[in-house]
């Protein structure tokens, strides 16, 4: 009875806000471009095998280091050139989108879930639970993340799941801190009091009453986070700590490009980098826009 009107209000504001979001986004233009790029990347990742003109691992030793637009075997074209083993750069780029997006999104799901749960517990219960979780977070942040990732990946061995795990665990603190702060302010609010008075269980209060009300700002963090995770993944792949060599990634393509740099095989170095920058930039632009949109203070000022 008591939380009924609350729910009603929440759903109408959500409806109008999503329409308002769409309108604001169209006005801002940049975020629309970012969204288009991301959709294109997602399509490349999902339909890579259909879109790619070649098997990304198919070597063609007669057509090594072909220039972009050069003729490939049997009347085909290496649109973006071929690499040192005669593999098609475009096809490898399309397959590389899979790893970047999959690792990016899976890692923030892992990190986000751990962080949100930790933040909810920390903020709701306070006391030693709060202390323990927050101090653990402090310790982790005091350790340069890339070094932590290197150490664990060297020992655990490379592989996509280890990569996701390490990159995911690296992100939880950010979520935990924000969720904790929001939970702290929400737990004294009337509608939480009401749920408590109605005899809802603690689990229900935390996950059904508080959680839905703190999700919005998390989308901003998540957007920036995917960007930084994709950058870290590229760096780790570049160091040879990413997925196995048989899986093409943007980072490992760049690592391979180093050997042919002096011979001026620029396309091997330029295209994978452009792919990374466009993807990361899009997530950053989207995050920026979302933050301005969700924070009314900033919106009023502009």
């Amino acid at each position: 009875m008591i939380d009924q009107p609350d729910k009603g209000v929440a759903s109408t504001t959500r409806e109008t806000s999503s329409r308002r979001a769409a309108r604001a986004m169209l006005q801002a233009r940049w975020p629309v471009l970012a969204l288009i790029i991301l959709v294109a990347t997602a399509i490349a990742a999902a339909f890579g095998p259909v879109l790619a003109p070649f098997d990304p691992n198919r070597q063609n030793l007669l057509l090594r280091l072909a220039d972009p637009m050069a003729a490939g075997p049997d009347g085909s074209v290496f649109w973006l050139g071929s690499d040192v083993l005669g593999r098609d750069v475009l096809s490898r780029l399309l397959y590389g989108a899979r790893v970047s997006l999959l690792v990016g999104i899976a890692a923030i799901s892992v990190g986000g879930t751990i962080g949100v749960v930790a933040g909810l517990l920390s903020g709701y219960f306070g006391g030693w639970v709060d202390d323990l979780i927050m101090r653990l977070g402090d310790i982790q942040l005091a350790f340069p993340f890339i070094l932590l990732a290197i150490m664990f990946l060297v020992v655990l061995g490379s592989g996509i799941w280890n990569l996701i795990l390490v990159l995911g665990v690296g992100q939880w603190v950010t979520y935990a801190r924000i969720v904790r702060a929001d939970t702290l302010s929400l737990r004294e609010k009337e509608f939480v009091e009401a749920a408590r008075a109605m005899g809802d269980s603690t689990t229900s209060i935390i996950f059904r009453t508080i959680l839905p009300n703190i999700l919005a700002p998390l989308t901003v963090i998540a957007s920036f986070n995917v960007a930084s995770v994709i950058l870290s993944e590229a760096a780790l792949s570049f160091l040879g700590l990413g997925v196995p060599p048989s899986v093409p990634t943007w980072g490992s393509m760049l690592a391979e490009s180093r050997d042919t740099l002096v011979a001026n095989k620029w396309w091997l170095a330029v295209f994978p980098g452009v792919a990374i920058v466009l993807t990361v930039l899009s997530f950053n632009i989207l995050g920026d826009w979302l933050r301005d949109f969700l924070d009314p203070r900033l919106r009023e000022r502009t």
């Binding site: 310790i139 942040l141 005091a142 760096a235 160091l239 740099l261 330029v270 990374i276 990361v280």
Partner: protein, 329 residues
């Protein structure tokens, strides 16, 4: 204030214990760590002998204590590929890395401040637009790719800068050869320009945005409006009233900055064949030289923690509010 410093020191000690615990557990994470130290063709006897020699047959807590004991004495074990103490190899490469990190830091801070101010006072104009757009790009470019692109353009195409190598400055300085150090300095800097920009670009971009938004916020405060309505020249308002308060958030992140920079250093050194700890780590990773990886990682993390502590202690001297809060509490 004393109690704050004490608490901060205690926190650093806990963090250092955390670092040792993590680097110890990392070894155990993949199962029996003995296999990390023997070749793939080692016989059972060899494996057993190595296990006993390295103490992996003992209980975990004993292993951890002796691990920490060894670390305290700077003993990270023998490097598997160099056959010499891992810490010696890392320490030899450290001055080059410090030079690069420091140079990148200078770029990240000293360019960010004027750029951020320029964007803030010209808010909404073309200046602001181009600076913020560039900063957005700067935060989206992988440092190592920026390095590769600069090698291609400034190194190989324009032939303006060297694309690899390093001229030592700190190493001769430490050895007391001042003349050599000073004589090297111009060439040291010349070799640092490309890798320094590559490492510093991300931080430069972030700091520029931070200076801009921090200054914009301060410029809207009442005391700035008061200063303006008194008829003070805009330059004076900016320098005496606004900047003084705008740069505090910048100082806060300087410590954390090193973490980002170190991350960049590890990869960028590899790109430029720059003989620092990063390139050493890269080689050690590929040869699975665990003691060397550990020595490099723990040493860099230790430096990072120390610098963070230092920055925090400087910060409480800079921000009078901190003293006040401590005095009351």
């Amino acid at each position: 204030m004393g109690s704050y410093i004490l608490r901060r020191l205690l926190q650093s000690i806990i963090v250092i214990i955390g670092v040792t615990l993590v680097s110890f557990l990392a070894l155990q994470a993949g199962g029996d760590p003995t296999y990390l130290f023997v070749s793939e063709r080692a016989s059972l006897e060899e494996i057993e002998a190595t296990r006993r020699a390295l103490g992996f047959d003992r209980p975990l807590h004993e292993q951890y204590l002796s691990f920490v004991g060894n670390l305290a004495q700077g003993d990270f074990g023998q490097s598997l590929s160099y056959r010499q103490p891992a810490i010696e190899i890392v320490l030899e490469a450290l001055p080059a890395t410090i030079e690069l990190t420091f140079f990148a830091m200078v770029i990240a801070l000293f360019l960010a401040i004027p750029l951020g101010i320029l964007a803030a006072i010209n808010r909404g104009t073309g200046w602001d637009g181009s600076i913020t757009t560039l900063a957005m790009f700067g935060q989206s470019i992988p440092s190592f790719w920026l390095g590769i692109m600069m090698i291609l353009f400034f190194g190989l195409y324009m032939r303006l800068f060297p694309i690899s190598g390093h001229v030592p400055f700190l190493a001769p300085l430490i050895a007391g050869e001042f003349a050599t150090a000073l004589g090297n300095l111009p060439r040291t800097i010349f070799h640092l320009i490309l890798p320094g920009i590559a490492v510093g670009a991300y931080s430069l971009a972030r700091n520029t945005r931070l200076v801009r938004s921090s200054l914009l916020e301060v410029l809207e405060q009442d005391y700035v409006r008061t200063a303006r309505s008194k008829g003070l020249p805009e330059m004076r308002v900016l320098i005496h009233h606004a900047l003084r308060n705008a740069w505090l958030p910048v100082v806060t992140i300087v410590g954390l900055e090193f973490g980002f920079l170190l991350g960049g250093v590890v990869v960028v050194e590899t790109v430029f064949s720059y003989p620092g700890v990063g390139r050493l780590l890269f080689a050690a990773i590929n040869q699975r030289d665990i003691p060397l990886v550990q020595a490099g990682v723990v040493l860099l993390a230790g430096i990072f923690i120390f610098l963070n502590l230092l920055v925090d202690l400087i910060y409480i001297r800079l921000d009078p509010r901190m003293k006040l809060a401590e005095g009351r509490g």
